[in-house]
């Protein structure tokens, strides 16, 4: 991907290679302004990209290493716990803020009386 002025067919082939090899960021970073413009305005690139995704899904998704589901479930549980914790902390914070606000209003009301 050192060529800096690639035609649309070269860009499509490089995108296909990058998707297959799991290195899309390297492809995206390799794009020059001109190439990016070419991609943005090319319907053919979008079509080729769609077929690439199709071939990638059929050719490689089954061969890809499928991780241990049990281990993955524990990751999901940890993520859920952390979100739950965050939600509780924010609702507690909100409740405290409401209580503080109410106390402040009462004090102000007493002073004015």
């Amino acid at each position: 991907m050192l060529d800096t002025n690639r035609e649309i067919q070269e860009l499509a082939a490089d995108y296909a290679g990058a998707l297959r090899d799991g290195c899309i960021p390297a492809f995206l970073k390799s794009l020059t302004r001109e190439e990016a413009k070419r991609i943005a305005s090319s319907r053919q690139f979008q079509d080729a990209a769609e077929v690439t995704r199709l071939l990638n899904g059929v050719g490689f998704a089954d061969k890809a290493l499928i991780p241990n589901v049990d281990l993955f479930i524990s990751r999901v549980n940890a993520e859920i716990s952390s979100r739950l914790k965050k939600a509780r902390a924010s609702s507690r914070g909100r409740r405290k803020a409401v209580a503080r606000h109410a106390a402040g209003t009462e004090k102000r009301a007493e002073k004015s009386v």
Partner: protein, 190 residues
């Protein structure tokens, strides 16, 4: 849809947090293989697929309202792609976007496009479609695509076909456009 998945879905859409949490494990077990293969189409990288999927499941746990009326596996896949996966997929490379020349919209379209044939078809359907389409290609085009699908680099394909790398890229590009046209025809037939 099998009973286990149906029960898990029912649990996921329950208002009780703990019930939703308990339903997550059977749901992950029933859908993990399908979802991770699905994500692989867009990322081509197992580690990223796992990271995205972890967030997708947590999002589903947080708000599974979209899955309330799902009755078939195909519907489940489409709904999960549209409302949970696509958002996460689009976030994957967003952080590097300020260093890129692509606009946000173009980047998003490359990473996770709108709903098309690929997004709605199951893995076995896709395999059938590809097999059928490859059979209709010319020998040289078919060979180039098959070699690519076996993991050959463009240089290796060029050596195999006794041509140059540039010619291989052109051949691949033209063949992909041809395949896209076949895919469109296939949709109309369907």
């Amino acid at each position: 849809m099998n009973r286990r998945l149906r029960n898990a879905l029912k649990g996921l859409t329950a208002p009780d947090i703990e019930r939703r949490r308990r339903a997550m494990e059977p749901f992950v077990r029933a859908t993990f293989d399908v979802f991770i293969r699905y994500l692989y189409r867009y990322l081509g990288n197992e580690v990223e697929c796992e990271d995205v999927l972890e967030d997708v499941y947590a999002d589903i746990w947080e708000n599974a309202d979209r899955l309330r009326n799902v009755t078939t596996e195909k519907q489940l896949l489409t709904t999960v792609y549209l409302y949970y996966m696509r958002k996460r997929l689009r976030q994957v490379y967003n952080r590097m976007n300020r260093n890129l020349h692509l606009s946000q919209r173009d980047l998003e379209n490359i990473i996770a496009p709108e709903l098309g044939v690929i997004e709605t078809a199951s893995q076995s359907e896709l395999q059938q479609i590809v097999r059928r389409m490859l059979n209709r290609l010319k020998a040289r085009e078919r060979r180039a695509i098959e070699l690519w699908m076996e993991g050959f680099s463009n240089r290796a394909i060029a050596n195999e076909l006794k041509t140059t790398v540039g010619a291989v890229k052109m051949l691949e590009f033209r063949t992909m456009l041809k395949l896209k046209k076949m895919l469109r025809d296939y949709c109309y037939e369907d």
